[in-house]
């Protein structure tokens, strides 16, 4: 194999660890060393994405904020501006963006579990459901545990229930995780799938509490901005006319929550916890031997992922103001996974783009009769969405398993400046193209590796 001589500590370690494990045990025949092609990880990182990433990483924190905030504001303004080609025809653009916000939150949470810690969770929709049902059970007049007619003011009930929903989902993550996280990866996938179904079936069967198939209606939402025009406030589903409808307001709420979630998850990633997750993802046995308490950190990933899913569920309950079990089926679980895989597992910004694709594309085609002057039957195309998602998953796994925006792992123990300098140097070396220049100046620091390894 003609690898570049750039010192690539982690990747080399991972590869050798893999081949030893393949030799030593027969339990992992699928991880035989890759043959033939140069692994993606060892190719020089010189693509546009990497240049952008490097440029971004090189910026100082305040500068990042200075660029980031206007960018977020621009996205927030999208449903207000409603750009002609971007806006949806058959459905309301604001409401679609609200759903995008929820799925983006879910993708961030699921990314912690799947992308960071490498635990395949097929029942993530279960946490989404628990979050939604927590809010609905506490605030819907149909529920026996409704608090809004006792002491909880209907105006602020949703906001009050948000932390409760987060806590309940985190605890449910703990309850599900503690017995099952000792299982190996494939088993875990099936057990979580079962869990997701159990949650939905419980919601369906326990009809004296959850209303069963009748669902829980009139879930509380924040009553803000009450005016002549909006008798129930801007968040009410009744606020449907005009540009600033309820969907847009909910989208804005979700943006705030997404930014908070990103900050929390980003800090975790850069901390000891994040490094432990990566270690577990790359090789659980090795991590365990090196002294990482794998079970504890897997559980952490699960709980944090679950809590973020719970936030999203609470948003759902607030926006739709009606909760029924059918919305929380396995297909949705798969769609969420689709968002994460499409976007690039491990890349928390990538998965947001993945969520956008998953939510927006079917809606883009819905009701559209022509695109760039070419007549199309948009409804028909939207109808085939699962076919396209399936194709996308299979093709992506064959040609670009790391997703559209692959994650680049980096050792952040070293300072940001040192990291950037090392990356730049490495790029110069590999950019020279002869592959023989040794980057002695930065030994073992450039560990930008393993985009696709999980």
């Amino acid at each position: 194999m003609s690898t570049s001589d750039t010192p690539d500590a982690t990747s080399a370690k991972a590869t050798s660890a893999k081949s030893t494990s393949a030799k030593a045990t027969t339990s992992r025949p699928t991880s035989l060393p890759p043959a033939g092609r140069t692994p993606v990880a060892q190719r020089p990182h010189a693509g546009l994405g990497d240049r952008l990433r490097l440029w971004w990483d090189a910026l100082a924190r305040p500068t990042q904020w200075a660029i980031g905030v206007p960018f977020i504001l621009l996205i927030a303004a999208l449903p207000v501006i409603r750009p002609p080609l971007l806006t949806t025809v058959g459905t309301d653009f604001g409401s679609v963006m609200a759903q995008f916000g929820m799925v983006a939150l879910i993708a961030i949470g699921l990314n912690v579990v799947v992308g960071q810690a490498g635990l395949l969770d097929l029942g993530y929709v279960g946490f989404y459901a628990i979050g939604a049902y927590t809010v609905a059970l506490l605030t819907s007049p149909d529920s026996p545990w409704n608090l809004t007619d006792d002491w909880l003011s209907n105006d602020w009930a949703w906001l009050a229930c948000l932390p409760v929903a987060i806590a309940v989902t985190a605890i449910s993550g703990l309850i599900l995780g503690s017995p099952t996280l000792r299982l190996r990866g494939d088993y875990l996938a099936i057990v979580t799938l079962g869990f997701g179904e159990i949650v939905r079936l419980l919601a369906d069967n326990l009809d004296s509490v959850t209303g069963g198939g009748r669902g829980l209606s009139q879930v509380a939402y924040p009553r803000v901005g009450v005016s002549e025009e909006h008798p129930n406030g801007v968040f009410s589903a009744g606020n449907a006319s005009g540009t600033l409808n309820a969907g847009v307001w909910w989208f804005w709420v979700s943006i705030v929550l997404i930014v908070i979630a990103l900050l929390v998850v980003g800090n975790l990633e850069r901390s000891r916890v994040g490094r432990a997750w990566v270690a577990i993802r790359e090789d659980e046995d090795a991590a365990e031997i090196m002294g990482v308490p794998t079970f504890r950190f897997k559980l952490w990933a699960f709980v944090i992922g679950a809590a973020i899913g719970g936030i999203s569920g609470a948003l759902y309950a607030g926006q739709v103001q009606f909760v029924v079990p059918t919305n929380f089926n396995v297909i949705n679980s798969m769609l969420f996974l689709c968002a994460v895989v499409l976007g690039g597992q491990g890349n928390k910004l990538g998965v947001i783009v993945g969520a956008f694709v998953v939510v927006y594309l079917p809606n883009f085609f819905l009701g559209r009769t022509e695109i760039f002057g070419i007549p199309i039957d948009g409804n028909e195309i939207a109808n085939y969405k699962y076919l396209f998602f399936g194709l996308a998953l299979v093709l992506l796994m064959i040609f670009r398993p790391q997703g559209l925006f692959p994650a680049r792992q980096k050792l952040l123990t070293y300072g940001r400046e040192l990291y950037v300098a090392a990356r730049a140097a490495a790029r110069k070396v590999s950019g020279a193209g002869d592959g023989s220049g040794r980057a002695d100046a930065v030994p073992a620091v450039d560990v930008a590796t393993e985009g696709d390894a999980r």
Binding site: P29, T30, G118, L120, L183, L337, Y384, L391, M397, P401
Partner: protein, 345 residues
């Protein structure tokens, strides 16, 4: 006795009622039905178990292979000149058997072909690359979507609406269930008998094939140690294809038996839950273990019906999933342990 047992409650408000009397009253009838479904689960479970044994891969799309088998046998019957109508055809015993066998072959060909095709198109490229198991699983989920939606939307266009689409296929009933004899008050119908006996026969043939033939030895060798097996002259790729083929063929046979029992179950979404149950059955018996799959299938089939009688019919899937989780928690290797063939026991 049932007076004492009826009407228990698990929670003060009667959120989950349970009723042991219903189980006691219908015990044998439930057992017979459970064994019938269990036999079908077992056949499908073999597909999961074999592939897992050889590749350490959960072929998530196996449920769709089963679903295609249902359409395969249905298409075969249509080719033989049967058109769906509400009532049963009566062709006499011998001809019915011939038709059933032909239908089964139809299911086997479609399922087997689809399984091998899936392996070649989706899994083989990944294996060459040495992709991690997560990638395989996601591919399988994608393939599952594709196959379902293919039958949902594309197949009706290809066949002029004869096959596939939103609604279930209108049944072609070849055998009318008629009670043959009763055991402890439980009616046993000809359909029950055909399913159980055919499934056992198939399971026996498969067991012999794996344990007593050259190909079977190859499969066991690859399952045990792929590197050494390759060195000994076993073609790993061929063995993998053979494994998928056997799994697919059995799923096709199971599909035909299933439609005998549930004639209106032929629908694009009809494989998913059954697939998960069959996988649970494989895990229950010990995944990778052929006989375990059989045992797990029968056990799951029976338990599921008992559970429904006790807690109510709406708890069916919950019973299966909870059973799966419990087994994985307390005995992750399943009842008979994980192994393919005796060598690794």
């Amino acid at each position: 006795m049932s007076l004492l047992l009826h009407g228990g409650q698990l929670y003060a408000d009667g959120v989950i009622d349970f009723d042991l009397g219903r189980l006691a009253d219908n015990f044998w009838a439930l057992t017979v039905d459970g064994l019938t479904y269990g036999a079908i689960y077992a056949l499908v479970a073999v597909g999961y178990t074999l592939v897992y044994g050889v590749l350490r891969l959960i072929n998530f799309a196996h449920s769709e292979i089963f679903m295609l088998g249902m359409f395969g046998q249905y298409a075969m019957l249509m080719l033989l000149g049967f058109y769906p109508s509400g009532n049963a055809f009566d062709k006499g015993v011998l001809l019915t058997v011939v038709y059933l066998c032909l239908a089964m072959i139809g299911g086997m060909v479609v399922s087997g072909g689809a399984a091998v095709g899936l392996e070649r198109l989706a899994y083989a490229p990944l294996r060459k690359r040495g992709a991690p198991s997560l990638v395989f699983l996601i591919t399988a989920i994608g393939a599952s979507f594709i196959l379902q939606e293919f039958v949902h939307f594309v197949l009706p266009k290809l066949t002029g609406g004869e096959l596939g689409g939103v609604n279930a296929q209108q049944p072609i009933r070849l055998v009318v269930p008629t009670t043959q004899f009763t055991i402890f008050g439980a009616d046993v119908t000809n359909v029950d008998l055909v399913i159980i006996v055919a499934a056992l026969a198939l399971a026996f043939v498969t067991d012999r094939f794996i344990n007593a033939t050259k190909f079977g030895r190859g499969i066991r060798a690859v399952a045990q140690d792929p590197v050494t097996a390759t060195l000994m002259g076993v073609s790993r790729e061929r063995i993998i294809m053979l494994t998928f083929l056997i799994g697919g063929v059995l799923a096709g046979a199971a599909a035909m038996l299933y439609t005998l029992r549930v004639p209106s179950g032929i629908i694009f979404s009809g494989g998913f839950i059954l697939g998960i149950k069959a996988f649970s059955a494989a895990v229950l018996g010990g995944i990778g273990n052929l006989r375990g799959a059989l045992l797990g299938g029968l056990l799951l089939g029976v338990m599921e019906l008992y559970g429904q009688a006790v807690f109510g019919t709406e708890w069916r899937d919950v019973v299966a999933f909870v059973l799966l989780i419990l087994v994985l928690m307390f005995r992750p290797t399943g009842i008979l342990g994980e192994s393919l063939g005796r060598a690794r026991a």
